[in-house]
């Protein structure tokens, strides 16, 4: 019996790590969303905007697919979270869904003849997706540390205790500060990606300026989020599955898991190094993206890790503490997690293929000439 328990816990932790990895990759791929909010700020002429939209357009599906896979993995591994949060925080998820639905068509339709609503309309949709998508995803992750307003009955059916069905989360400053951090970081990543992939003097210069402009609010939001996270009470779980409040829980988690602490610190350093080198480095340094992107992955991965591992409730209930979800009480059965773990072996294969495809497409920078070719595929 004890072995079975341990095995189940092993797979639950494994799957939480995988979900964390997908969440972390998603956070980095949100550069597409961040970039979408800069189309007009950085692109001043029609050709410049076309280059921006096209460099993002070649990657939007990666972000989208990661989001879908992230959702699918959560459903398969932690179905009670899926049922509780999606059904409970209804409006929050619907708003997020709409933001992504509208994005999916915008690249394809934007520059097509007879697109009914005009180019500008689809650009507005891209902007909305960039703003709403990033802020809400970040805020939802914030609820992992601040709790949500639900309770569960004997059959694990969810009741939500707030009429606004999830929108109340937008009033929690701590969760929102994470949402805004994601937004500003996505913009920084977006601008860095333009520098990396577009051959254009003006875009380079303006992107650099935007990195500086967004760095300041990012630092304010992220540091206040992180500082409060370290000093706040957290939702801990004991060996019997009883949830209780523990002072400095998330700080304890970091100290208890040195690898996670290292990952967080290296991540933050990576982000700052990439940004500062781009801003103040010599010879128009263009590769800052390749520091900030892995930095983002490591940072977000650590945040997920301290939310769910080390006897922590990753989706706490503020309405009924004992309804809180942990990776143990919300997971799939041992059998399903095992099956899914075989499937997870495909993740590295897919990542490798993604890298091959990414490199093949990004071999050369986007140039004005390429955009002006009549017979090429462009957005």
């Amino acid at each position: 019996m004890i072995t079975a328990e341990i095995t189940h816990l092993f797979f639950q932790q494994y799957w939480w790590l995988l979900v964390s990895l997908l969440g972390a990759l998603l956070a980095f791929l949100l550069f597409v969303q961040g970039g979408q909010t800069l189309i007009y700020t950085i692109g001043k002429t029609e050709t410049e905007r076309k280059m921006i939209v096209n460099t993002l357009g070649r990657k939007w599906e990666f972000t989208f697919t990661t989001l879908v896979t992230f959702g699918g993995a959560l459903f398969a591994a932690f179905p009670l979270f899926y049922a509780t949060s999606f059904g409970g925080a209804y409006w929050l998820w619907i708003v997020l869904l709409l933001a992504f639905t509208l994005q999916a068509v915008s690249y394809e339709f934007r520059s097509k003849a007879a697109n009914v609503f005009g180019k500008k309309f689809y650009e507005i949709l891209l902007f909305i997706n960039g703003l709403v998508g990033t802020v809400i995803i970040g805020t939802v992750v914030g609820t992992f540390f601040n709790g949500a307003d639900f309770s569960l009955n004997m059959l694990n059916n969810v009741t939500w205790h707030n009429e606004t069905r999830g929108l109340e989360t937008l009033l929690n400053w701590h969760s929102v500060s994470l949402g805004l951090s994601v937004f500003f970081l996505a913009r920084i990543l977006g601008a860095l990606y333009f520098i990396l992939t577009i051959q254009n003097e003006n875009i380079f210069r303006r992107s650099k300026k935007q990195i500086l402009i967004n760095l300041i609010p990012f630092l304010i939001c992220f540091l206040s989020f992180l500082t409060y996270l370290m000093i706040k009470e957290g939702f801990a779980v004991d060996a019997n599955g009883t949830i209780f409040m523990e002072k400095y829980k998330y700080l304890h988690n970091l100290l208890d898991m040195p690898i996670v602490l290292a990952s967080l610190l290296i991540g933050i350093i990576g982000v700052l190094w990439g940004v500062l080198k781009t801003l103040f480095g010599k010879n128009n340094y263009e590769k800052g993206f390749w520091f900030v992107a892995p930095g983002t992955v490591l940072t977000v991965f650590s945040l997920f890790a301290i939310a769910g591992l080390n006897n922590t409730s990753f989706y706490p209930s503020i309405a009924d503490l004992q309804s809180s979800l942990t990776i143990q009480n919300s997971s799939s059965s041992l059998f399903t997690l095992k099956i899914m773990s075989y499937v997870s072996l495909f993740i590295p294969v897919m990542l490798a293929l993604a890298i091959i495809s990414w490199r093949a497409i990004n071999k050369h920078k986007i140039t004005e000439d390429e955009m002006n070719e009549k017979n090429g595929k462009s957005y």
């Binding site: 459903f75 068509v105 394809e108 609503f117 059998f335 099956i339 009549k374």
Partner: protein, 523 residues
């Protein structure tokens, strides 16, 4: 305890169902083209790589662009479906998430990722990667799209025929015990094959329809004829497989969802030598509890329905009334009896949980056994009236017949087009103009048939969200009906806007035709 007994607003259920139906049907406008046209494109590109003839590249790129316009919107609606299981069917998501979540996640990890990765190469890699790499990417995109379909259809099949699982009272959910049984359940296999071949058929008709437009306008005739050759042969093979798997699906329905079969045929009183209805007008006054005649007019074939189920005209097929009121002779329990057993199961589950909480293992074990003995009737505990297990018969009946009639006609369409293009007689054919018009008309007909198929599958299984285990009332998210009504209209508004834009872009693109050959050599 009372909170476990359902008190769900029926208006909420209707709106939640309507919202899911709206999203699913809208999604299904775009998916079947994607599934099929990718193979057609891959075949065309293979010809291009083998022959090196630039005209084939031009043809490939033309259809690829149409695919791209269509693809984005399919993706956009697909994500809504995935999330809607959680947002609107949260109790369902928990009750079956241990089984249902896995295929969804596998779809994301294996199939959808593959599709996305190679689509990037397919769209943007023309001059960046070698011809062979590009061709491989195209084939792999097609494979990825079809693998996506596999997993989501496995999930759907499981709802129609829950296999490979066991109920766990401690977690109050069904848990997977045999993955292969879920994946290779005969319902899943048939559903997958039937659904993807319907997509291939539709895509082939789409290609023939658009090509017919060019022939009608006497433009791009070479592109049109070559496209028709490939599409009609591909379509003919597909539609034959479609009919074959359709039969297989019907056999599965007869075995696992007899009520759906009865509704498909409007069969109220069952028996041996059951009649297959070719076409009929249903009597709108007919209900399961009155003596009205079921049909106002019909063309039927006696014994054929029985024969189709297991090649024996004497096979007994239960009717709607038999399933509602029971048929002792054929060992069909009356629904009331199943409701009683369902309630026993539900009460045993509640008692089990209470005894467990008190630490009374012995009593808990007793209740567990009672629960398991009656579990196959569990969902009937949610049924309030035996007549509630009857789906809306006219919807199911007419959808089924439209699907079958159209599907059969398509066989002929493919044959004629294939013959006339392969022998290169199409332009001199006496009724060429009429044929082109038929080709064009087949596009909307294929969409209607395809959507009708889903209506049969999904309306036909009402009121079950999981056959015999959970009704829609029990699976729905507890939320105000006003909220769902609002999101329904938001979705309807957005979908309409997107559809208008997409159709407008497609029509303009087709009207303008493919890029001129002299531009060849670009990307």
């Amino acid at each position: 305890m009372t909170q476990l007994l359902l008190n769900i607003d029926p208006v909420l259920i209707d709106w939640s169902r309507a919202q899911f139906a709206l999203t699913a049907m809208f999604h299904w406008i775009f998916v079947p083209i994607t599934l099929g046209i990718l193979f057609i494109i891959a075949i065309m590109e293979t010809v291009y790589v083998k022959t090196g003839n630039p005209e084939w590249k031009r043809i490939t790129k033309f259809w690829m662009k149409l695919f791209a316009i269509n693809f984005a919107i399919g993706v956009a609606t697909g994500i809504i479906l995935e999330f809607e299981f959680g947002t609107n069917w949260s109790n369902y998501s928990w009750f079956v998430g241990d089984i249902f979540g896995a295929p969804l996640a596998i779809e994301g990890i294996m199939a959808f990722f593959m599709e996305t990765i190679f689509i990037a190469v397919m769209f943007f890699g023309w001059n960046k990667v070698s011809k062979k790499f590009h061709l491989t990417a195209t084939w792999l995109t097609a494979l990825g799209a079809n693998l996506s379909a596999l997993w989501i259809l496995v999930a759907n099949a499981w709802m129609q025929y829950p296999a490979g699982m066991q109920f766990n009272p401690d977690t109050a959910r069904n848990e997977m015990v045999d993955f292969w049984e879920v994946l290779f359940s005969p319902v899943a296999v048939n559903k997958f094959l039937h659904t993807v071949t319907s997509g291939y058929t539709l895509a082939a008709l789409f290609v023939i329809g658009v090509s017919s437009y060019f022939l009608l306008r006497k433009r791009e005739t070479l592109l049109a004829k070559r496209s028709i050759v490939i599409a009609s042969v591909f379509g003919f093979i597909s539609v034959m497989a479609l009919i074959f798997t359709g039969h297989g699906s019907a056999v599965q329905v007869a075995e696992h969802q007899p009520m759906k079969l009865a509704a498909m045929e409007g069969l109220y009183e069952g028996g041996q030598e059951a009649e297959l209805i070719g076409f009929a007008i249903l009597n709108p006054n007919k209900e399961v509890d009155n003596d009205e005649k079921p049909y106002l007019f019909k063309v039927g074939f006696k014994g054929v329905l029985s024969f189709l189920i297991d090649f024996d005209t004497k096979t007994y097929v239960p009717g709607i009334a038999d399933l509602v009121y029971g048929d002792e002779q054929n060992q069909i329990l009356p629904t009331e009896e199943r409701m009683r057993k369902g309630k026993i199961a539900m009460n045993a589950l509640i008692a089990y949980k209470e005894f467990k909480e008190q630490g009374n293992e012995e009593e808990a074990k007793l209740q567990y056994d009672i629960l398991m003995d009656n579990y196959k009737h569990f969902g009937y505990s949610y049924v309030k009236d035996p007549r509630d297990i009857v789906p809306h018969v006219p919807t199911v009946f007419y959808s089924f017949h439209i699907m079958v009639i159209f599907g059969t006609m398509f066989v002929l369409v493919f044959l004629i087009f294939a013959w006339l293009t392969i022998t290169n007689k199409i332009e001199n054919f006496k009724f060429a103009k009429l044929l082109y018009i038929i080709g064009l008309a087949c596009i909307p007909m294929a969409f209607i048939a395809s959507e009708a198929g889903w209506v049969v599958a999904e309306v036909g299984r009402q009121p079950w969200v999981v056959q015999d285990l959970m009704t829609v009332d029990a699976g729905v998210t507890n939320i105000s009906s006003g909220a769902v009504q609002t999101t329904f209209w938001i979705f309807a508004f957005i979908f309409t806007g997107l559809l208008i834009a997409e159709v407008s872009i497609m029509l303009k693109f087709i009207k303008d035709g493919p890029a001129k050959p002299e531009n060849e050599g670009g990307k």
